[in-house]
Amino acid sequence: MAIRCVASRKTLAGLKETSSRLLGFRGIQTFTLPDLPYDYSALEPAISGEIMQIHHQKHHQAYVTNYNNALEQLDQAVSKGDASTVVKLQSAIKFNGGGHVNHSIFWKNLAPVNQGGGEPPKGSLGSAIDAHFGSLEGLVKKMSAEGAAVQGSGWVWLSLDKELKKLVVDTTANQDPLVTKGGSLVPLVGIDVWEHAYYLQYKNVRPEYLKNVWKVINWKYASEVYDKESK
């Protein structure tokens, strides 16, 4: 049965782990689930509180937990000089580390309407979008189309290519982070198109989710990143 009660607090007390633990002689840094800067229900009606809670507390938490486990195993394998195990762990690190990286960005890419969610970008990012895509509508149309066309699970991204100094739209599969598409790509806006990101609310109609998610995209944050990285 779907969860009916939506917790109004961003995190449940007791879920937090200590922020770092020393493991092995090198002291491996492990990770914790970041807090959301808004309540689970604050993005409604674009994204339901039910989805936000499960997405954050279950899916993202699982990536964090599994990433930490993989890192611990990696630490041991590296210490022992066990090359086969080191290589074998790479996919778990990519899946779960990527999941943690991507979702950490995603929560910052979203904001409630009363905190600027959906407000079009101004300043240099706004101009860059007009220059590269004709208009914000043009960018939105392109990203929504590419997001809808992702087969299976993945993400659609707007990024700044630092080397070529231009904005780029890309998709990645599964939890591959954007760097897998190019080392000079800095993510500005990522939209999760895994079914867990929208299914309880939009069911099979991913295009409807993509139409509505723009109402809560935090362009202020994207602009900050763009300004910082395009210096």
């Binding site: 779907a2 969860i3 499960i54 279950k58 899916h59 699982a62 996919s91 899946f95 087969q151 299976g152 699970s153 993945g154 599969a173 599964n174 939890q175 895994w194 079914e195 867990h196 299914y199 309880l200 069911k203 099979n204």
Partner: protein, 223 residues
């Protein structure tokens, strides 16, 4: 409840899916409480239907038009460099195969020759169960887990997105869909619970046995 179209299932390991959205061999509420009517309304009624409808549109006016679903799947798999129609074709096939892998009051341990073969190739039913469960649980992202038959041996395989054992050179015998849309309404993120429910309550071993017989016949006739 007698299994629907057992002769048809036995006729070939390849289902004739593609161009027709066949209803599952049970009513949409027949798998409750293990798989809800709501899930089947969306999964069969929307997702599977879309694969079939979109495939028809996609092959219209191309050299794939009029070909069998098997032909389209193999051609568009293109040795892993997937051509555009692969996703719709393979998913249309996979979903028909999935409905026919299930039945009301199914699941649990098979008997007879099938059990003997599982014990031969996995040591025990429990070991098979663990391996199938692990494959389904660890297929990252969207995909499927399978029991398949090749070179007179049973094996567990997991595949991403729309890929299936047909293109990998083995006969599919059983599958579980682990795309999130297959379980999200009933189980949300809890894929392990969904897999357990499928294994314990939904598997149609009759269908698996019929497919195994067809696979053995097909193998020996081409030897």
């Amino acid at each position: 409840m007698s299994s629907f179209g057992s002769k048809r299932m036995a006729a070939s390991s390849a289902v004739t899916a593609g161009y027709v959205l066949k209803p599952p061999p049970f009513s949409l509420d027949a798998l409750e409480p293990h798989m809800s009517r709501q899930t089947l309304e969306f999964h069969w009624g929307k997702h599977h239907r879309a694969y079939v409808d979109n495939l028809k549109k996609q092959v219209l006016g191309t050299e794939l038009e009029g070909k069998t679903i098997d032909h389209i799947i193999h051609t568009t798999y293109n040795n892993g460099d997937l051509l555009p129609a692969f996703n719709n074709a393979a998913q249309a096939w996979n979903h028909e195969f999935f409905w026919e892998s299930m039945k009301p009051n199914g699941g649990g341990k098979p008997a007879g020759e099938l059990l003997a073969l599982l014990e031969r190739d996995f040591t025990s039913y429990e070991k098979f169960y663990d391996e199938f469960n692990a494959a389904a649980a660890t297929q990252f992202g969207a995909g499927w887990a399978w029991l398949a038959y090749a070179n007179d041996k049973l094996k567990v395989v997991k595949t991403p997105n729309a890929v299936n054992p047909l293109v990998l050179g083995s006969f599919p015998l059983l599958t579980i869909d682990v795309w999130e849309h297959a379980y999200y309404l009933d189980f949300q993120n809890r894929r392990p619970d969904y897999i357990k429910t499928f294994m314990n309550n939904l598997v149609s071993w009759e269908a698996v046995s019929a497919r195994l017989e067809a696979a053995k016949a097909a193998s020996s006739s081409s030897a």
